[in-house]
């Protein structure tokens, strides 16, 4: 059975698109046929991070409007042939998406793909709602700061009440926490919440902690998902996330500040 994963957050700019690109690539590299969809209509940028922006002919709105078939719109990734991208439109607004059209696309993709990753726009409006409505799993991307955590909590409320699974009284969406842009030094200085703080507030299964890393910017500038940078900390952290999602038991890394002696004494466990 194919699974639909929504990558979501309440607050914007926390790393949803970075995460969508990384985990879609990670799943595909493990041999699972995967599609990643950009729901951020009007602010297209998944294709930039995936490095396929110059090959976009049709987008999700064209498919919904019947102007192109799904197969015409899907772009095969240049690094991994198990991975396909369905880009967003730059020229339309969010109203171009509708539940029926999105539902049809996802149903079609489920026949052919093992995983469908939905990169959600920020906020709780239509685009975000449509991205999560049909989901089986949700990756809630959160930065270690109070406002981001609070918005994620609100998102979790919507996931448990406004999704198809909730409306049809099915087993609820599986929710996972992804803490991104984590900086142990700043946690130690008290500028940021610790992993424990965030888990205490959200009480959610922690799928992984992605460290704040220069490699993310380098990767997005070159149009290669950071998970392909196997030497980078962020790349390794995303690889762990994919492995854990697929059922592997891997210890969490990049949580402690290895540099400081005091980190070992007073750091979070």
């Amino acid at each position: 059975m194919a699974r639909i994963i929504v990558v979501t957050s309440g607050k914007g700019g926390v790393g949803k698109t970075t995460t969508s690109a990384a985990i879609a690539m990670g799943l595909a590299k493990k041999g699972h046929k995967t599609a990643v969809i950009d729901f951020d209509v009007g602010l297209r940028n998944l294709d930039l991070i995936m490095g396929c922006e110059r090959r976009v002919v049709y987008d999700i709105v064209n498919v919904i409007n019947g102007e192109a078939s799904l197969n015409q719109a899907l772009i095969r990734d240049k690094h991994c042939e198990q991975l396909y991208i369905l880009p967003a439109s730059q020229t339309r607004d969010k109203d171009a998406l509708n539940q029926e059209g999105v539902g049809k696309i996802l149903e079609d993709l489920k026949k052919d793909f093992k995983y469908v990753v939905c990169d959600s726009p920020a906020g709780i409006e239509k685009g975000a709602h449509l991205a999560m409505y049909f989901a089986d799993d949700a990756f809630v991307v959160t930065n270690p700061e109070v406002s981001s955590v609070r918005d994620s909590d609100r998102m979790l409320g919507l996931l448990s009440s406004k999704s198809r699974r909730a409306e049809q009284n099915q087993e609820p969406i599986k929710e996972y926490l992804l803490l991104t842009r984590y900086s142990p030094e700043r946690v130690k200085l008290g500028d940021m919440l610790s992993v424990d703080d965030v888990q205490d507030i959200l009480s959610l299964h922690l799928l992984g902690v992605i460290p704040e890393s220069k490699s993310v910017l380098t990767a997005s500038n070159s149009g290669t998902p950071v998970i392909l940078d196997e030497k980078s900390d962020a790349g390794q952290a995303y690889a762990d996330v994919v492995a854990r999602y697929l059922g592997e038991d891997r210890p969490h890394r990049f949580i402690d500040d290895k540099k400081g002696f005091f980190g070992k004494l007073f750091g979070s466990k």
């Binding site: 609070r150 918005d151 909590d153 609100r154 979790l156 409320g157 919507l158 009480s203």
Partner: protein
């Protein structure tokens, strides 16, 4: 010593004494008028016939004896039996009454050994009539209540998961949160001053009982991370540890 024990070297015990506590309705009498007693008793029984059928019963004469009102024990037990109840004890009787009761094979109970929530109140019968149909529905929530979510319960509200900051839970009855309470909790929202809030970790933004509230600024830091209950006393919210 009997010789039997030698014939059967191992003799397993056929009986054993154990101590047990039972809840038995007590009939507290405040009148010695047998006609009135019979009439009122039958009225009560009619309210919950299933509950009272063949129910054991202890009758309590303390109130009568305080007022020097004597009563015919034999006639009283007859009335009780006619109503479908089985008298199994007398309480608060004088020496004469206790002797009469014993003659009728009805044991004597001491008033001091029994525990009763409201033994002072002259109530005819303790148990409530028709307990099943009368009870108000309890709302049970097993999932976390997240920021932005609201829950309203017309009876009691029991939440087994956490209540996030930015969430609001309301109940006309009591609220129980068996986890951290960070949001707003309002009990007795229709004005019931006896409603209470219970939670295992109080970090609420606001708590209110029957409209009397406290915001997080008023809640002492010290109360966190341990189970507490909140109730109303003279229009003031009292927060107390549950030990």
């Amino acid at each position: 010593m009997s010789t039997d024990s030698q014939k059967t070297p191992y003799n397993p015990p056929a009986l054993e004494f154990k101590s047990s506590t039972f809840t038995v309705p007590v009939l507290v009498l405040s009148s010695n008028d047998l006609l009135v007693i019979e009439q009122q008793l039958q009225e009560k029984v009619r309210l919950a016939p299933e509950f009272f059928r063949n129910s054991p019963l202890v009758f309590d004469l303390l109130e009568l004896n305080k007022r020097n009102l004597d009563i015919d024990i034999a006639a009283l037990t007859d009335i009780i039996r006619k109503s479908g109840l089985l008298p199994i004890g007398i309480r608060g009787g004088n020496a004469e009454q206790n002797k009469l009761a014993l003659a009728l094979h009805i044991p004597v109970y001491s008033i001091h050994n029994s525990v009763s929530a409201n033994s002072q109140k002259p109530k005819a019968i303790v148990p409530p009539p028709e307990p099943k149909t009368e009870s108000v529905a309890t709302t049970l929530i097993t999932q976390p209540v997240r920021s932005g979510q609201r829950i309203y319960a017309s009876g009691d509200l029991i939440i087994l998961a956490q209540v996030s900051a930015g969430a609001e839970i309301m109940a006309e009855g009591n609220i129980h949160v068996y986890n951290t309470l960070r949001g707003r909790a309002l009990a007795g929202v229709q004005g019931n001053p006896d409603a209470r809030i219970f939670c295992s970790d109080l970090q609420a933004e606001l708590i209110s009982i029957a409209g009397n509230y406290k915001v997080s600024e008023d809640l002492e830091k010290a109360v966190g991370k341990k189970p507490v209950q909140i109730y109303l006393q003279d229009h003031a919210l009292i927060i107390k540890d549950i030990v």
